[in-house]
């Protein structure tokens, strides 16, 4: 099993979610994050004091999936979340030892 963590632009969340759902992904979890990267933040000025906001708001989408669908998931995110502009975000993939559905206690792929 794999955990895919995709840091994407806010306004892409709905699109990505829908695309993944269409691909048969039944669950995912989103978190509000702030990202620092090549995409520069902005600077705000409050009564003359400039304040550089290096972190820009992003969403991190976590999808746990079987190894078989990993490629599909990554491709789907890649396509849907891309705008081609700096700041589109990253996809991080890592191994997962186990997944359990709390409701039923099911384990592994069944839990997803």
């Amino acid at each position: 099993m794999k955990k895919v963590e995709a840091i994407i632009r806010h306004f892409k969340l709905e699109d990505v979610k829908n695309a993944l759902a269409e691909e048969g992904i039944q669950g995912m979890t989103a978190v509000e994050v702030r990202g620092f990267g090549r995409q520069k933040g902005h600077s705000e000025t409050y009564r003359g004091t400039e304040y550089a906001v290096d972190f820009v708001p992003k969403v991190k989408l976590e999808v746990v999936c079987g190894d078989d669908v990993l490629q599909k998931v990554v491709d789907t995110i890649l396509h849907t979340a891309q705008t081609g502009q700096i700041g589109d975000g990253k996809i991080f993939v890592s191994d997962l030892a186990n997944a359990i559905r709390i409701r039923t206690g099911e384990m592994g792929n069944d839990a997803l």
């Binding site: 705000e44 000025t45 409050y46 009564r47 003359g48 304040y51 550089a52 906001v53």
Partner: protein
């Protein structure tokens, strides 16, 4: 334990009237007779019920009661939201608490002795009022058992009950200290703040108020301050500067970002202040007459001009007009028109607003950053500078059409009244600044050595909400 000094102090304060109030009621009876303006104290049969319809102008009284409510509204929610939005999230309750607690504290001080020291009379050129109105004696409704008249008497102040006057002025006594809180936001000890405000109100505000508005020294010079440019704004602005200098900068000032945590509050607070300021300035006519309308209009137009000017400067200089700029401009315009509102014509108010926003803009940006002090919410930059400018502009724009100060001769510089008024205003401004700076410095110097001005580093880091009040502003748990 270590806050016990204030706790004790506060309780003492609260206990005071317990002891004295009844005396006051007793004493009031004979004294009341000597009040010059009692209602119908002759030509009536004995045992008449309070009948004040003859002398109270209900329109004036209605207006000043509303104005009193409006001025209270300025402190909270107005100023509380304006300031609250500008601090970091962890200190929002600290700001709100200061405003609300001061609403309580200063009101009690006001009724105990503040009003008397301010408006007790004292003769031409006096420095403080006398004690005729201690504990609201001769202010609250009294009972007269005299030979000519038995019944209730309503002490009057012009066409309104003196109680109304006391209320209206009492609201100024709340907002002035509350304004200062912007200077030491996010780091001041709460107990010291409370003690400081009681002392500052008594030793700085009250004398100034008396000298300008109760026939005291400055009034006898001919200095004019319609609604508190000096009494409220210069005094709070200069005190704020001293506070900022003596308490020192916030931890991380200059290095860490400290943006406003909720500009929506600041914007809403601004609008509320604008709304309340109508009571502040137009109410200072103490009547619902043409002067009130004129002051109202001047206030509104100055605020409007400030609201436009500040963001336009930003637009020109930095490319973007900001909300905080519009809000700051509005407040600058309002602070600056305060002393002038009832002396200059509304159209001059437009100019006042433009100048106010321009000067305050540079005070808050260039000046402050050059000098490096941390007047956190720009009390000096806006209220101090705005107040000083307004006092001087009064000397320039004052018009006999609005208030005929010179028996029909022109008044201000522009309408040909010469430099007289301007000179007096300048002197009054300097006097106000000196007095404020001196007393504020002394008070803080003493308090620093006794109670301490500042919370500990840990407390400051944790935020005042948790460290001082044990609460959080926003808890988004389900």
């Amino acid at each position: 334990m270590r806050h016990f000094s204030l706790a004790a102090f506060c309780l003492l304060l609260l206990a005071a009237p317990f002891v004295n109030a009844q005396e006051a009621n007793e004493d009031a009876r004979p004294a009341q007779i000597s009040i010059p303006v009692v209602t119908d104290d002759a030509g009536q049969d004995e045992k008449v019920m309070t009948d004040d319809a003859g002398t109270i102008d209900t329109g004036d009284n209605a207006w000043i009661l509303v104005a009193s409510a409006l001025v209270l509204f300025m402190t909270a929610p107005g100023l509380a939201m304006f300031y609250g939005g500008l601090v970091r999230r962890k200190n929002i309750l600290g700001v709100l608490m200061q405003c609300i607690f001061l609403m309580g504290l200063m009101s009690i001080v006001w009724c105990l002795w503040g009003y008397s020291i301010c408006f007790g009379g004292g003769g031409d050129g006096s420095l403080v009022g006398n004690f005729d109105f201690l504990l609201l004696e001769n202010v609250q409704l009294g009972w007269n058992d005299g030979p000519n008249f038995t019944g209730a008497v309503v002490p009057m102040e012009g066409s309104i009950p003196r109680l109304t006057h006391m209320l209206f002025q009492g609201m100024f006594f709340i907002i002035t200290p509350a304004l200062i809180c912007g200077a030491f936001a996010e780091r001041m000890k709460f107990s010291t703040m409370a003690v400081f405000m009681v002392l500052w109100g008594t030793l700085v505000y009250c004398p100034l108020c008396h000298m300008f508005w109760d026939g005291g020294l400055l009034a006898s010079w001919g200095a004019q301050d319609f609604a508190g440019g000096a009494v409220v704004h210069i005094s709070s602005g200069c005190a704020a500067l001293i506070c900022a200098l003596m308490i020192g900068n916030r931890l991380g000032h200059g290095s860490d970002p400290m943006p406003p945590h909720n500009l929506t509050y600041t914007a809403i607070g601004t609008a509320m202040l604008w709304f309340g300021w109508f009571g502040f300035n137009a109410g200072s006519a103490l009547s619902a007459n043409g002067l009130a309308a004129s002051a109202f209009a001047a206030t509104h137009l100055s605020a409007a001009a400030g609201t436009l000017t500040w963001p336009c400067i930003e637009w020109y200089k930095d490319g973007k007009p900001t909300v905080l700029g519009a809000c700051s401009g509005a407040i600058a315009g309002l602070a600056c028109i305060t002393p002038a509102a009832g002396f200059i014509s509304p159209m001059s108010g437009v100019l006042v607003g433009i100048l106010a926003a321009t000067c305050c803009y540079f005070a808050c940006t260039s000046l402050k950053s050059r000098l490096g002090y941390d007047d956190s919410l720009d009390v000096f930059g806006i209220h101090g500078i705005g107040g000083i400018l307004g006092m001087l502009l009064t000397g320039i724009f004052a018009s006999r059409a609005v208030q005929d100060l010179n028996d029909g001769s022109p008044v201000g510089l522009v309408e040909g009244g010469g430099y007289d008024l301007l000179g007096i205003q300048l002197m009054a401004v300097l006097f106000t600044i000196l007095l404020t700076v001196a007393f504020t410095f002394i008070l803080l110097w003493i308090l620093e050595r006794t109670m301490g001005l500042r919370v500990s580093q840990d407390e400051e880091m944790e935020g005042l909400d948790l460290s001082l009040h044990g609460e959080e502003g926003y808890i988004n748990l389900p």
